[in-house]
């Protein structure tokens, strides 16, 4: 078996840059140039604003309703990167319903990758709705632009939801341009600490977590948070031990 065949088999299991060729002790030029190209594309992706119209149209076409739009206090992408404090604060929430009493609220935040939102949020929301309703009531969907995770605390408190899910675009990596993270905060309110949230990261099928599996983990976390009366470090994801382990996490056919 040649080196190439050996690594080709392994590359089916990971996007990692394994088995690179060597020039002396360092990387072969082709790999260096490929890395540079990927870096250039990833840097460009950070500055592309989310295509809100496309996102809304996709959500509507799936029968998920028309989301309410919220902007942070940030003026543009450049300020978004420099001023995380402003990205955590909504400009105005008055057009959102107050105190809905819903069990769960869902906020779609562009974060560092608007593309992740347009690529994965509609299908993920559909999977969440399928998994969580009608057992739980849902507040109207909210799309937040130039937003960081903690902006959701303001939205969740305003909507008066029991548990808040923020679906946020994660840092674009070299090999993974669009990945979503899900942050769960029980009893959301401004000032919540990171230790009071739970995170499910790397939702980006086919290489990352798929939408249905992510929804299953969220379902278990919501139930756990309601039992415990809180989210965060004391709440552990037990979905794995609850599942019949026939289709473990590696089975991403």
């Amino acid at each position: 078996m040649s080196d190439d065949d050996f690594w080709a088999a392994l590359r089916r299991t990971t996007q990692s840059r394994i088995g690179l060729g060597r020039a002396g002790d360092t990387m072969a030029l082709g790999d260096v140039l490929a890395f540079r190209a990927a870096h250039a594309q990833a840097r460009d992706a950070v500055h592309v604003p989310v295509d809100v119209d496309a996102l809304v149209a996709d959500l509507e076409s799936r029968g998920l309703g028309t989301p309410l739009l919220v902007a942070s206090k940030v003026a543009d992408r450049g300020e978004y990167l420099r001023r995380p404090d402003l990205g955590r604060q909504p400009r105005d929430l008055e057009h959102l319903p107050r105190d809905t009493g819903a069990d769960i609220g869902i906020v779609l935040a562009d974060g560092l990758s608007g593309q992740a939102l347009t690529d994965h949020a509609p299908a993920l929301v559909a999977a969440l709705v399928e998994r969580l309703t009608p057992r739980y009531s849902l507040a109207p969907l909210v799309v937040a632009t130039n937003a960081r995770v903690a902006l959701g605390d303001h939205v969740g408190a305003h909507l008066g939801v029991e548990t808040l899910l923020v679906l946020v675009g994660e840092r674009p990596g070299l090999s993974v341009p669009s990945s979503l993270g899900i942050y769960l905060t029980h009893h959301p309110r401004p000032g919540r600490r990171d230790s009071e949230r739970n995170c499910v990261s790397n939702v980006h099928p086919p290489d990352g977590l798929d939408h249905a599996h992510a929804a299953r983990i969220v379902d278990a976390l919501v139930a756990g948070a309601r039992d415990l009366g809180e989210s965060g470090v004391r709440l552990k994801d037990t979905s794995r031990s609850l599942d019949a382990a026939a289709d473990g996490p590696a089975a991403l056919s």
Binding site: T14, I18, L20
Partner: protein, 470 residues
């Protein structure tokens, strides 16, 4: 409260408190600008550094930057302070300490003398002196400090450079993690730790990964240790459940509030340290904690205000995290220097400076400080900046660096060093992996007697069966 004044040309600058002076004397970085405590101009920064040079070290023991009444890290700093050892340097100013350090490194007994003031120094004193030092000063002093820790390998010996092999995968797929582990081992990486950042904090998933790594270690008789970087409470639970936990990981920071943001207290960390030690899994040593820190984490947690509600600069807060760290006598600690984002360290220049500061401060305080030489895609940096920082840290005899396949972490979405980069640094400075691991690499035919990682055919190597499960 002392007020500081410094005249520069026609202007007299006033600094109302030691907290303010420290912040204004810090080399420029975006995080201090975000916190509103940075110098307004380059001239004000230069004036602040001048004034800071004249501050007696004694002042740091009475004018606390973060109040002891409300912050347990401050109380720990004061408890740790060794008054007897301090008498060697108690007459010095911050500027005097800078000269003392640079004079000391020229002596034959530099390592012993530097070890002798480890507990005489507080994190604030070390942060202060670093603000007066140029990059070369940070390198040359850190290079003279020797810190050795051990578990199944010994890290930090002279002539050694160790690596953390980081085989992350977005879904924790055991086949993908195994493939990345194989890639790293074939390139001579993994003697500090094989450490996975799990995609979820699920105890079951973490347990599966621990078993995966421990099985690999035992099957190939690799002298190293594994770690799954999950929250400390998850590790404690897994220790109780009998999972094979070598090292306990936790992110820590420099104020009580920031640590609460991470969901930890000093007592909880001590409990984890004892629990892992009680397993007695180490063979050549019993350091069991693996800690990560990074400038900006305290501001990110909005827990950065100190005395009189004044913002404390991020580099001083980072140094205070080392008080928490050294309380635990950890096996490894590293700064995730470029990971936290451009709002704290804007570009390559700021990342390089911060990496050298963190390494210098932690080592002087007695820690096995490594680095994740890294950056994110929204930071103004690239691999050239990483080459600079790696070269400087290797010159400063850093204990270990983090490496991932091809420098691209496909789970965390950022760039660290590649396994090849460690070969470059080892070749440049004639360093080798930890002795226990080097012996294994040589025995397996992966490394030559002269210390070169050989280009072996993976399908005929002793590790070939690691690739068979894919």
């Amino acid at each position: 409260m002392t007020v500081f004044r410094q005249t520069l040309g026609p202007t007299t600058y006033t600094f109302g408190h030691l907290v303010e002076l420290m912040a204004k004397a810090s080399p420029r970085r975006s995080g201090d600008e975000l916190a509103g405590c940075a110098a307004e101009t380059d001239a004000e920064r230069a004036a602040a550094q001048w004034a800071l040079a004249d501050v007696p070290l004694d002042l740091f023991l009475t004018e606390l930057l973060v109040p002891a009444e409300t912050d347990d890290v401050t109380r720990l700093v004061l408890e740790q302070h060794d008054a007897a050892a301090y008498r060697q340097i108690s007459h010095l100013t911050v500027g005097g300490l800078r000269d003392w350090l640079l004079d000391t490194v020229t002596r034959d007994d530099a390592a012993d003398r530097l070890a002798g003031i480890r507990w005489a120094l507080t994190p604030e004193m070390v942060a202060a002196v670093s603000k007066l030092m140029r990059n070369q000063d940070l390198v040359t002093v850190a290079r003279a400090v020797q810190v050795t820790t051990a578990f199944r390998t010994t890290v930090g010996l002279p002539g050694r450079l160790s690596t953390r092999l980081q085989p992350n995968h977005p879904t924790d797929d055991p086949r993908g993690i195994t493939a990345a582990t194989l890639d790293g081992l074939l390139l001579g990486a993994g003697d500090a730790v094989i450490g996975i950042n799990p995609a979820t904090d699920s105890p079951q998933a973490v347990s599966d990964l621990l078993h995966l790594l421990d099985d690999v270690r035992q099957r190939y008789e690799i002298p190293t240790q594994s770690c799954v970087l999950t929250h400390v409470t998850t590790s404690i639970g897994l220790i109780e459940a009998g999972a094979p936990v070598d090292l306990v990981f936790q992110s820590i920071a420099g104020t009580q509030g920031a640590n609460e943001g991470f969901g930890v207290t000093i007592d909880l960390l001590r409990e984890a340290n004892e629990a892992a030690r009680s397993l007695r899994r180490g063979t050549v040593g019993d350091n069991v904690m693996y800690l990560e820190t990074g400038q900006g984490s305290v501001l990110s947690a909005d827990a950065h205000l100190g005395t009189e509600g004044r913002p404390v600069d991020q580099q001083t807060l980072e140094a205070r995290a080392y008080a928490v760290a050294r309380d635990l006598d950890p096996f490894l600690i590293n700064t995730v220097v470029g990971f936290i984002g451009p709002e704290y360290l804007y570009d390559g220049k700021q990342v390089v400076r911060a990496g050298l500061e963190d390494h210098f401060c932690a080592k002087l305080l007695g820690l096995q400080m490594g680095a994740d030489v890294c950056y994110t895609n929204h930071t103004e940096a690239d691999q050239d900046d990483m080459d600079v920082l790696l070269t400087l840290l290797a010159a400063a005899r850093v204990g270990f660096v983090i490496c991932v396949p091809g420098a691209d972490d496909v789970m965390l979405g950022y760039q660290s060093l590649g396994f090849h980069d460690a070969l470059y640094a080892r070749d440049l400075f004639g360093t080798r992996p930890a002795p226990e691991f080097e012996e294994w690499l040589t025995r397996c035919g992966l490394m030559s007697e002269s210390g070169r990682v050989l280009p072996v055919d993976p399908s005929t190597s002793v590790l070939r069966t690691l690739g068979a499960g894919a």
